[in-house]
């Protein structure tokens, strides 16, 4: 396949091939980074980090999983690195209610940002699971490969998330 050929060439050190690969995957990377961070500038940062990392580690791709799957994994790891570094740098500013969003966002987006934040606190990998399965449309097995856990773990997480959302709706219903 064309993509496979492209990757092999990039692994061999062909810069043009790597450039093409970047062109075709930057959107995917950015989209996921945006969904993960809900913030344009942050997403751009993460996407750049991911591209840099891709440059260094494309040689490690073994064609065992689909390239996109492997890429998701890389982006997630970059995003988590990025977040950790943010926490370190903005140690003092965190409590000033660092803006989670761009500001110019629809109600839906604000709602999603809130929910994702809750999921993040719900447990490790919850947010990523939700994003991969619901937003990116991966199967449970694929998401499992990306996150390095078993398929059943993903199914369990999805179930937990659904239950959490149920409780949330109920709570909001009560207060309303």
């Amino acid at each position: 396949m064309d993509e496979r050929d492209l990757i092999s060439r990039a692994q061999a050190g062909d810069a043009t091939a790597f450039g093409e690969l970047l062109d075709s995957y930057y959107d995917t990377i950015f989209r996921f980074a945006w969904r993960w961070s809900r913030h344009r500038a942050n997403a751009e940062d993460i996407a750049q980090l991911a591209c840099l990392k891709l440059a260094g580690s494309i040689a490690q791709y073994r064609f065992q999983a689909a390239f996109a799957t492997w890429l998701y994994r890389l982006v997630i790891s970059c995003a988590q690195d990025w977040k950790r570094s943010q926490q370190r740098h903005d140690h003092d500013e965190l409590h000033e209610g660092a803006s989670l969003t761009d500001g110019s966002q629809s109600e839906d987006q604000i709602y999603l940002a809130q929910v994702l934040l809750e999921l993040e606190e719900l447990g490790e990998g919850m947010k990523e699971t939700a994003l991969l399965v619901h937003a990116e449309g991966l199967s449970h097995a694929e998401a499992g490969t990306v996150l390095g856990v078993s398929e059943s773990t993903i199914s369990w997480r999805i179930h937990t998330i659904r239950r959490h959302m149920g409780k949330r709706e109920a709570r909001i219903g009560e207060s309303a």
Binding site: W34, C51, V115, E124, G137
Partner: protein, 755 residues
């Protein structure tokens, strides 16, 4: 109106289109990075960047494994935090009491903040306007992790690291919150507390280390060097120019500094002095064994002593590491035979590959038991000449789990493996498999001729994740089978700190697996690294079942010994299942005791049974065993003779050999054969007449044996002291080209003061 479900919303959640400018920048940066990493030209231009900060961040992150996740950080983090917390509480209580005592003289100050005093930190943070009578305390706080890892780096003149013993014991996390609130009143109200003062000795120019910012870093670096003072500078500009990937690695090269990149995420810990480092203790596991007891040849069932050869040396390195830290090793870590065999003795070597052994027997007086004698049995294996060495097919199975993130673990593994490459032939192949959260092949079998590839692969490794040892072993065996060399040596080199906590983790199951693979001709050797969680018993079991050696590598020097000097012995087996059996002559020997080999004892009937596995001997390996005997008629018998059973008279023993202490038999198999061969040598009463070289070696190995027994509690060594051992070893140093023997003398001295 019913709100749409969360799932639906996520599905329709459209990301805004990517900004073309950002896209271009990312593309450019990545391409530049791509060229850089491909060209391996460290001095090439840095990737174009949106800002210096981001580029630096990017560089720091590159080394991160793509599959490591956030959780990797936590176990490491919480472990140290707990202990660090405990340590800081202790320190704080001591400090607090001292402060309290001083302040009893000033009651109004004491009442001011009574609750805060017990948690007063040893290193109070001071503002810049405080007179600079404690510059180090200030530096200590500045150079903590957050400051150092701050990518802005611009003001982080981390003048660091003189002797921050106390400060380091402090948890890095708690340092800040504790200091800010409480230190102010203290600093203002009272003269510096004694504890604080002692934590901040006068600055020492030689120990000063400056980390300067990115901007103008070149200039700063040049200027600092111009001044010709003993200042080591590392500027961020230089990071890409060394083979290091980040600042932490660069700092590691500065003498006296131990800096580590924590879980590869670009945060660093600085250590003022390697000795200050936190050491995990108490979880090393060793197989328990009892010392060999005194046996009497007069009793039929005790007449014969049988054991398997053991060429491992891991016990000695482990003991050395512990003693270097001023701690006596746990008794089960001391295996006398491994300590004795650590050293090279000049027993005459065998001449051909077909008869790969020659045994030497020397009788000498026992230095710790008057009237008793020591019998040395030295076996030296045939040394394969370089050109005769078969091709090797090596699979390096490396543990890269989070627990390997210590300076004496993964970095040492990498360096050791690079050393190993130097002692291989260009036609040998090396493959690398790592195991952590997931096992993976890092390098397919690659000829050593393409050394750069292998080194590059090694350099990419970063610790992270939990340990799935078994999975890694399976993958390694698969690779070894794939590139199996029929005529050559097929061996897996497992480098680990001892954890196999995922997958097949029962020792027996693993042993069985290794044993089955051994039958296919793939052997396994284990190199142990690090301490605190070292599972010696597992390493030993695997290596024994895999026909390999188990070595413990604590320093680069040790790596050189095992992997370069003794590469032949570690990699090329010349004989397998080597068993020794000594029958003592009741007419001449009243009592005997084998020093060491407790874990290698065999049953008498196992000796002739070729199905029973035993130790293997590599090219040029020497095996030394020492018996302590009490000749008949000596007054120093430990066990009284039986009142009822008369010892058999000399005449009744066959051959009537009253000039023999016993009879030595050695069984071995050539590596390709399954039938054993036999070598026999009598142990003559007068085997004491040997050359000067051998005599000296006997003296030395006697000293080592004495040392090992002292470490085990000195049950049989009478009034022998560490001082005696040191003296005896000192007198028998010989040439000692690599200083191993002098090191032993030092070790014996250290044991005197160790607790």
């Amino acid at each position: 109106m019913k709100p749409r479900s969360f799932e639906e919303m996520l599905k329709q959640d459209a990301a805004p289109p990517a900004d073309p400018a950002a896209r271009r920048a990312a593309r450019q940066a990545a391409l530049a990075e791509f060229t850089r990493s491909n060209a391996q030209a460290a001095n090439e231009a840095l990737p174009p960047r949106r800002s210096a900060i981001q580029a630096l961040l990017g560089m720091l992150r590159l080394s991160r494994e793509s599959n490591s996740r956030g959780s990797d950080f936590m176990p490491w983090y919480s472990r140290r935090m707990l202990l660090g917390g405990a340590a800081s509480v202790c320190l704080a209580v001591v400090g607090g009491m001292l402060v309290w005592k001083t302040q009893q003289l000033q009651p109004e100050v004491a009442r001011l903040e009574p609750a805060a005093l017990p948690v007063a930190p040893p290193v109070p943070e001071q503002r810049a306007d405080v007179p600079a009578n404690e510059p180090m305390a200030q530096a200590g706080v500045q150079a903590n992790e957050q400051a150092a890892a701050d990518a802005k780096l611009k003001d982080a003149e981390a003048q660091e690291l003189a002797k921050r013993r106390q400060a380091e014991g402090e948890s890095r996390i708690e340092q800040k919150p504790l200091t800010t609130g409480i230190a102010q009143p203290m600093a203002g109200a009272a003269p510096p507390a004694p504890a604080a003062a002692s934590a901040a000795p006068a600055p020492n120019e030689q120990d000063e280390l400056t980390v300067s910012g990115y901007r103008g870093s070149l200039q700063a670096s040049v200027e600092a060097r111009k001044e010709n003072t003993p200042v080591t500078t590392i500027t961020s500009e230089e990071i890409g120019k060394f083979p290091d990937k980040n600042v932490a690695e660069s700092l590691q090269r500065v003498p006296g500094v131990a800096a580590q990149s924590a879980a590869g995420n670009g945060s660093f810990r600085f250590k003022g002095d390697a000795k200050d480092q936190y050491q995990e203790v108490g979880r090393d596991r060793f197989e328990h064994f009892e010392l060999n007891s005194i046996k009497q040849p007069a009793i039929e069932s005790e007449r014969v002593s049988t054991f398997s050869a053991d060429v491992d040396t891991s016990s000695y390195s482990f003991v050395r590491k512990q003693l270097d830290q001023g701690v006596l090793p746990q008794k089960d870590a001391v295996r006398a035979e491994e300590m004795i065999n650590y050293f090279d003795y000049s027993w005459p070597a065998a001449e051909s590959r077909e008869q790969p052994f020659r045994s030497t027997v020397v009788v000498s007086d026992s230095p710790w038991g008057k009237g008793r004698k020591l019998i040395h049995i030295g076996i030296k294996g045939y040394e394969l000449p370089e050109r005769q060495r078969p091709n090797a097919n090596l699979v390096l199975l490396l543990d890269v789990s989070g627990s390997m993130d210590e300076p004496d673990k993964l970095p040492l593994v990498k360096q050791s493996m690079k050393l190993l490459l130097g002692s291989l032939k260009p036609t040998d192949t090396v493959a690398i498999v790592v195991y952590a959260g997931a096992a993976g092949m890092v390098l397919p079998p690659t000829p050593v001729g393409e050394k750069e590839k292998i080194i590059e692969a090694l350099d990419r490794l970063e610790p992270g994740g939990s340990t799935a040892g078994a999975e890694g072993i399976e993958l390694a065996y698969q690779l070894a089978e794939k590139s199996f060399k029929k005529e050559g040596v097929n061996r897996i080199l497992l480098c680990t700190d001892g954890d196999f906590n995922v997958g097949i983790d029962s020792t027996n199951e693993l042993k069985g697996y290794v044993e089955r693979k051994r039958a296919k001709g793939i052997f396994l050797s284990v190199l142990g690294f690090g301490q605190g969680n070292y599972r010696d018993e597992l390493a030993q079991a695997l290596a024994q079942n895999g026909n390999g050696v188990a070595a413990y590598i604590d320093t680069l020097n040790e790596a050189r010994k095992v992997l370069v000097q003794e590469a032949g012995s570690s990699l090329f087996t010349i004989a397998k299942d080597v068993k020794l059996q000594v029958e003592f002559n009741p007419a001449t020997v009243a009592e005997y005791r084998l020093v060491g080999y407790e874990t290698r004892a065999l049953k008498r009937e196992d000796f002739n049974n070729d199905a029973v596995d035993a130790g293997d001997v590599g090219s040029g390996h020497a095996v030394t065993a020492i018996y302590e005997i009490t000749p008949v008629g000596s007054a120093s018998r430990m066990v009284d003779a039986s009142r009822y059973v008369k010892p058999e008279s000399a005449a009744s023993t066959s051959g009537g050999t009253s000039n023999e202490y016993g009879f030595l038999k050695i069984r071995y198999k050539l590596p390709t054969q399954s039938k054993s061969q036999l070598i026999e040598t009598p142990i003559n009463v007068d085997s004491g007449k040997v050359g000067e070289g051998i005599k000296r070696d006997v003296e030395f190995s006697t000293a080592v044996a004495g040392f090992a027994q002292l470490l085990r509690g000195g049950q049989f060594t009478g009034s022998l002291t560490y001082e005696d051992v040191a003296k005896q070893a000192q007198a028998a140093l010989g040439d000692d080209p690599f200083g191993y023997r002098s090191e032993f003398v030092q070790l014996a001295r250290k044991a005197q003061s160790a607790r």
